[in-house]
């Protein structure tokens, strides 16, 4: 079984994100970038399937600027076998990514795609679903448990109010939630080996996809600063304030 794992280069989750002064986006110059944490979970899940003998090959794909190759290297160090970089300086929106992935699926014919449920930069949570629609494949999103059985995959999904279990027929798409697993650290020998694993570089045009944005970003702004709260001395005072000031009761 071949597994495709898309991985995105995003601002590291430890970095305090700052909006560019001209409001066109967030500052990424000189900022530490890492693999999207949900994608790490996806890579981990794929590697575990390979270790169990269920998967035979894991292909990590990243799209974006040339430095995204480093994100692929991280996936290779965790245990993916080879990488594909679709290199472009265009700001990629979910639909463009889904189209590019569809073209890669045509080329690679994976049986399973495991991807993050969302990327922590724009939190769109759209690419997996769009790709499923474009391919006409079943999807198990927000997975907290994945089990391959025969030519199907059972996915336990995290939904509002509980867990839902769905059975999908392969090929299928799974998007990962936080509780699915705890990603491993790359070991030194694996980091060394990763540097020798192949990464194929393509351009969107090679895949016949026009990645131009379909949505226009008007402005990016900081969320309003949180105001300091009010301390109340007693329950009576709280109730009074809720009645007279907040007018909620």
């Amino acid at each position: 079984m071949k597994i495709l794992v898309p991985v995105k280069r995003v601002v590291d989750y430890n970095v305090k994100v700052r909006v560019k002064s001209d409001g066109t986006g967030v500052e990424t110059a000189g900022v530490k970038m890492s693999m999207n944490p949900f994608d790490e979970i996806a890579v981990e899940e794929a590697v575990r399937l390979k270790e169990k003998g269920v998967a035979t090959e894991i292909v990590a794909v990243s799209m974006g600027v040339a430095a995204s190759a480093e994100t692929i290297r991280t996936a290779l160090a965790m245990g993916a076998d080879r990488g594909i970089l679709v290199e472009t300086d265009v700001d990629l929106q979910p639909l463009a990514v889904a189209k590019l992935l569809k073209a890669i699926v045509a080329k690679e014919a994976p049986n399973l795609i495991i991807m993050g449920k969302q990327a922590i930069d724009d939190d769109m949570s759209a690419t997996g679903q769009m790709l499923a629609a474009l391919l006409g494949w079943p999807q198990g999103t927000f997975a907290s448990k994945v089990a391959i059985e025969g030519d199907g995959v059972t996915v336990v999904r995290e939904v509002d109010g509980g867990l839902e279990t769905v059975a999908l027929t392969l090929p299928a798409i799974v998007t990962t939630d936080l509780r699915l697993n705890e990603p491993r650290y790359a070991s030194l020998p694996n980091i060394m080996k990763a540097r020798k694993k192949p990464i194929e570089t393509l351009k969107p045009a090679d895949l016949g996809v026009d990645p131009a944005p379909r949505l226009t970003v008007l402005t990016v702004a900081e969320p309003p600063k949180r105001q300091a709260g009010v301390k109340v001395g007693s329950v009576a005072e709280l109730v009074a304030k809720l009645k007279t000031e907040a007018k909620v009761i």
Binding site: A77, S187, I191, M192
Partner: protein
Amino acid sequence: MDFALTDAQEALREAVARICRGFGDEYWLERDRHGGFPSDFHQALARDGWLGICMPAEYGGAGLGLAEAAIMMQAIAESGAGMSGASAVHINIFGLNPVVVFGSDAQKRRMLPPLIAGREKACFAVTEPNAGLDTTHLTTRAEKRGDRYVVNGQKVWISTAQVAGKMLLLARTTPIEQVRKSTQGLSLFYTTLDRSRVEVREIEKMGRKSVDSNQVFFDGLEVPEDDLIGEEGRGFEYILHGLNPERVLIAAEAVGLGFAALARATAYAKERVVFGRPIGQNQAIQHPLAENWMELEAARLMVMNAAWQYDTGRPCGAAANAAKYLAGEAGFKACQQAVMTHGGYGYAKEYHVERFLREVMIPRIAPVSPQLVLCYIAERVLGLPKSY
């Protein structure tokens, strides 16, 4: 000229930092209170291959350079593990370099893999009570008897001798009166620490409680001749070979610890409000911290410069010594300033910086004192008369 770390170096720094995140401040605070070798930390690094970072690939190492090792050691110290974390693995990183360079293939096969895998620990036994920095005047004797050497004498400050199964030992094989120069007649051994013939007594010390340092007494320790590294009588030369890399690593550790202290001080200076403003708004608080950053960064660059010289086969003595001096002093100043920035709280263990201050004294003092570095630079770089 490119001063940036390569992507591969960034990746390995991140990987080490991630392992260290599993051993947080509370872990090291606990080790500082109650001692006990940080075995789980040592094992975590061994499991992922980090102890072999500089070891040749054919013996199970990664074959990377001193630059990568320095990045790793800085990351360990900077994580808050400080010298406790760094010293727990320090000897593994470059300590056995004399074996790598001068050992036979059979010796390397026997000695390196267990160390890299973390199955064995080693200690490094050079310093003696009656010789101090004047290493060639050490008096521990190794006398040849048949196919073995018999060792008698005493060492001091030997770190990790409580937990190590192996020892890299420098001892005199030819009495000093019988050699032309005092640097001759010393030999290097890598051998089993046989506790029936070696007594190890822990020294109670200022900091780094979890990584022991000891007085070591040799009472007829038998060392098979197979454990002699290189040729008899050339041990000092072999040790010298590893001294510069060791200085670079200890310097990297001091830089890391200094940055850890600076990070704590800076965070506290932003948070702590007195007289209606964060204390960090006062120049008397922020300027020394800015100075710490500049000094640490300058020391880090000297560390990387020395590592680059070593890795590219250039003479690196001046840069390695300068890095060790600059890093020790910058690290110390940063740790001291971090305590002062915290005011009274800086003196409380809970804020960690007092532990850093106690630990940063180690890379200032060892493996060579700041005075001796100054002597070296004066003599070797400036051409002034030798003073010691």
